[in-house]
């Protein structure tokens, strides 16, 4: 029925955006059930999905308007189109927020970053507001045919840079920051391919579909990383230790020291929070057993290990929680794998309480 009253372009656009909506709703529901360490990250990601959902809905409305199925005045057309542009700006800003937060988990740095982009974002918004009344970037003629001016493409390229630059920064950051080793770049290329490739070259408005596929792949990445998480403590689990063992064996992880905290297994959630607060940023705590938290590190000196040990002991003692702490350094001619094996052998022993 629809194909007889709509062109192929309209048909493809509506179906593609319908699929995008279903996909985005599915990811939204699934990701709400994930228990991540950082709930802020989940909220920011959910906001991205909601904005992308809004965009997909607007693409359908625009397509129905273009096909003449929804009657629309000239101002109505300008407002609908402008709303879609503002949604794209919102997506752009939320994208910068998500990438920044995912890379650095630092609200302070995010605030400084947003201060830097606020002026260009405000200028772009202003352009689109003025455009509603002047049509200097895009306009509709008397037959409600949509036309973009050269200036629109300039603004669009600037918006595209807002999407691409964080991806380039991520690629550079991955080389130096182990904490984001599970944050892959692959999903973003899919989205960009859709947005730049199909959207610009063809008449089909399928950007939202491309974005939703990209977000689905991001969600898959998050779930992949999630399998290394111990659900009770939020620390890494033994699967992660196996993963690190492979990296250590292949000399991709320089292991120089290890620490072990033995605590009572009951109320491990609160105990783990106290331990986590005393650990340096570069420590990756692993729940090795019900009552044992292991952390591996690159540091080669005893004094930092001693500091952490003292701070954890003091913190847990103040809370009335008994703790035994042990740490050791890799010997000079020992490989990382041999050191880990030696340390874990002692850790598995019942009486490993000495430093």
């Amino acid at each position: 029925m629809m194909s007889s009253i709509m062109s192929d372009v309209g048909y493809v656009t509506i179906y593609a955006n319908g699929v995008a909506i279903m996909l985005l709703l599915g990811i939204l529901v699934l990701s709400s059930k994930l228990r991540l360490n950082d709930e802020n990250e989940k909220r920011i990601f959910s906001s991205l999905l909601v904005i992308a959902l809004g965009m997909a809905v607007f693409y359908i409305i625009i397509s129905l308007r273009d096909e003449g199925i929804i009657p629309c005045s000239h101002m109505g057309a300008m407002l609908i189109e402008s709303a879609e542009e503002f949604l794209l700006i919102a997506l752009m800003v939320q994208w910068v927020i998500y990438m920044d937060y995912r890379m650095y988990h630092s609200p302070g740095h995010l605030k400084r970053n947003l201060n830097r982009i606020i002026v260009p974002v405000a200028l772009i918004c202003l352009c689109f507001i003025i455009n509603i009344f002047t049509g200097f970037m895009f306009y509709f003629d008397e037959n409600l045919v949509y036309t973009e001016t050269a200036l629109y493409y300039v603004v669009d390229i600037i918006r595209l840079l807002f999407f691409i630059i964080p991806i380039v920064m991520l690629a550079r950051r991955k080389k130096v920051d182990e904490n984001i080793r599970f944050f892959t770049i692959r999903p973003f290329f899919v989205s960009i391919l859709f947005y730049v490739g199909i959207y610009y070259i063809t008449p089909y408005s399928v950007a939202a579909l491309g974005i939703s596929i990209g977000f689905a792949l991001i969600y898959v990445d998050v779930v992949n990383a999630y399998r290394y998480q111990d659900t009770q403590t939020g620390f890494f689990n033994r699967n992660y230790l196996l993963y690190l063992k492979d990296l250590i064996r292949d000399d991709e992880y320089e292991l120089n020291s290890a620490m072990l905290f033995t605590v009572p297994g009951d109320d491990i959630e609160n105990t783990s929070k106290l331990i986590h607060a005393q650990l340096p940023d570069d420590c990756e705590p692993i729940r090795y057993a019900g009552d044992k938290i292991l952390t591996l590190a690159h540091v080669k000196d005893r004094s930092p290990l001693h500091m952490v040990s003292e701070d954890v002991e003091m913190s847990l003692t103040e809370a009335g929680i008994p703790v035994a702490v042990a740490y050791d350094l890799r010997k000079k001619k020992e490989t990382g794998s041999d050191f880990l094996e030696r340390f874990l052998k002692k850790a598995d022993g019942d009486n490993y309480v000495n430093r």
Binding site: H109, A297, H298, R302, S303, P304
Partner: protein
């Protein structure tokens, strides 16, 4: 003649051989001192050394900071005592760097190598620092850059842990043991993000009035920007709070610091020093 262990309690008795700045250093955990006194308890010689890398699995090294003695007997006795002490500490190599020609000659006689080179330390003046302030003009510092006095002890300790775990200690082998108030808090600066220190420029004021820049590092996403801001902040504070004749010592212990001093203080060079080393294996 008798050999005694020097501590921060008796070091003042050896003031004829050890200046006030070095006396102050004796309170640090890796400094060791041996003194020689004659039959009337008058100091006749001193050897002070600093242990390096003694808490890692790397070879421990010893840097001889002071070696002064009245005569050959004292010299022999001090070196013998030194050899025994460093054997207990499992020191693999000793080295020195000094402007004192007598010290270098005495060490040379005891098996140390000798070469003359440019000192790693450069001494800069307030005038030089005013030059930096012109290069890095900051009208208003962002709120996250502040003096160390505004940070808490808890923040400082957390920062030290982070720093050490990243392998950054500057010139401070004993960073883990230094309290926050060991540094000159009003001119030392820090960058604070999310309530955590993620960058510092730590300066120590010695008893003589000389300022020593000891740790200059930053990490996190804005580390490059913060390094510039920290330098400008400390520079401004030094200009405001210290007299014109104040001297600041920067030790060019790695390539990064050397590049920095070459860029900002190209006119300043290190003095000629005697340096050398000896294997203790």
């Amino acid at each position: 003649m008798e050999i005694i262990t020097l501590t921060d309690e008796n070091i003042a008795d050896f003031s004829a051989y050890v200046d006030e700045d070095m006396q102050d250093e004796m309170s640090r955990i890796f400094y060791r001192g041996i003194g020689a006194i004659d039959d009337s308890d008058t100091p006749v010689g001193v050897l002070i050394y600093e242990l390096k890398d003694c808490e890692s699995e790397e070879d421990t090294k010893s840097r001889i900071r002071v070696f002064k003695c009245e005569n050959e007997d004292v010299k022999r006795l001090l070196m013998k005592e030194y050899a025994e002490s460093i054997e207990e500490e499992e020191v693999a190599r000793s080295f020195y760097e000094t402007e004192d020609e007598h010290m270098s000659r005495d060490l040379r006689e005891n098996g140390f190598s000798l070469e003359v080179s440019e000192a790693l330390d450069v001494v800069i003046t307030i005038e030089d620092i005013k030059g930096i302030s012109k290069l890095i003009r900051v009208k208003k510092f962002p709120p996250h850059i502040m003096s160390l006095s505004e940070a808490s002890v808890t923040q400082y300790r957390a920062f030290v842990k982070n720093c050490l775990f990243k392998g950054r200690r500057g010139l401070l082998d004993d960073l883990a043991y230094l309290p926050m108030n060991w540094f000159e808090k009003d001119i030392s600066s820090c960058a604070v993000t999310d309530d955590k220190i993620d960058g510092v420029l730590l300066v120590k004021k010695a008893p003589s009035g000389m300022l020593f820049a000891l740790l200059f590092t930053a990490f996190g996403p804005d580390y490059k920007t913060n390094l510039g801001l920290l330098m400008a902040y400390t520079a401004q504070n030094i200009i405001e709070k210290y007299p014109e004749d104040t001297r600041v010592v920067i030790r060019r212990h790695n390539a990064m610091v050397k590049n920095l001093t070459d860029k900002f203080f190209a006119q300043r060079k290190g003095s000629d020093v005697f340096s050398g080393n000896r294997s203790e294996a």
